[in-house]
Symmetry: C2
Subunit: 162 residues, 2 copies
């Protein structure tokens, strides 16, 4: 039923092992969803996934976040976060101020415009995700969430120290 189309999973040979097969399927699903959501954010809001993800982190932290904390939470490099923040500052969606206790540290926070902009994007984003995942039953979602929790814990345990 699945894997009839051409995508990253098509590179698998018969002798590949479980772990690799599982990773390629996970990567394929993640990439397929990003390829739906990214263009939709662009089309409907003139935005992008990295911008949306950054605004989402700030929305959860009304006092703002240090650049380093943003980089960690978004799993992207510091240079990329600085670039994103510059572009969001230019658009009036976030502010950047020096930390009172350490002038070398920048703290980034949403502006009221940024909060409004994020809210409307977040509603559409959740609707798109719910649609894309719509064929999974509630039980399947719960199982998948739980198994991915085990996977996350495995990666964290076995991965290199960050």
């Amino acid at each position: 039923m699945t894997a009839t189309a051409l995508d990253p999973e098509t590179r698998l040979g018969d002798d590949d092992h479980d772990a690799l097969r599982l990773w390629l399927r996970l990567f394929t699903c993640s990439t397929m969803i990003e390829r739906e959501i990214g263009p939709a954010l662009k089309r409907e809001f003139g935005s992008s996934l990295p911008r949306f993800d950054l605004l989402a982190q700030l929305e959860r932290n009304p006092d703002g976040l240090r650049l380093g904390a943003l980089s960690e939470r978004l799993l992207v490099t510091g240079g990329n976060v600085t670039w994103l923040v510059n572009s969001l500052v230019a658009d009036g969606l976030v502010t950047r101020r020096r930390a009172p206790e350490d002038g070398r540290v920048w703290i980034v926070a949403l502006t009221p415009d940024g909060r409004r902009s994020f809210a409307s994007m977040a509603r559409a984003h959740e609707r798109w995700i719910a649609r894309l995942l719509g064929k999974l039953s509630s039980r399947e979602r719960t199982q998948l969430h739980s198994l991915l929790g085990h996977l996350k814990s495995s990666i964290r345990h076995e991965g290199s120290p960050q």
Copy 2:
């Protein structure tokens, strides 16, 4: 047990819904694995994930692939594939020739050096993936693979026509 560290899942509020929660966990797992494998390919082979994925598709297609087919299978844009292919041609790992039946179409294939280079990367890559997924039981892997198959089918069914 999971989700104690800071990552994209930390943006979730209590009132977010199942689908969004599931997507953020999937995205987090996928990104965490890429963040392990990418730097390891760089460190051990001076390569990158996009280069590795492209070589992997060619390894499965000894007669070569059209640029457009590569782009489709890798889920990346044509411009990015052209850029990658140029860099791999410069390194002697792939060749590019015009299709006999249509001179406007380029066909890309592995060179013997490319095949050797991919083989040694693929062995290391599979070892790294097996380690990162090592805490999942065989049963959990099977379940996860099957549920992700349903997810993939849902995304394909509900997504925009490509």
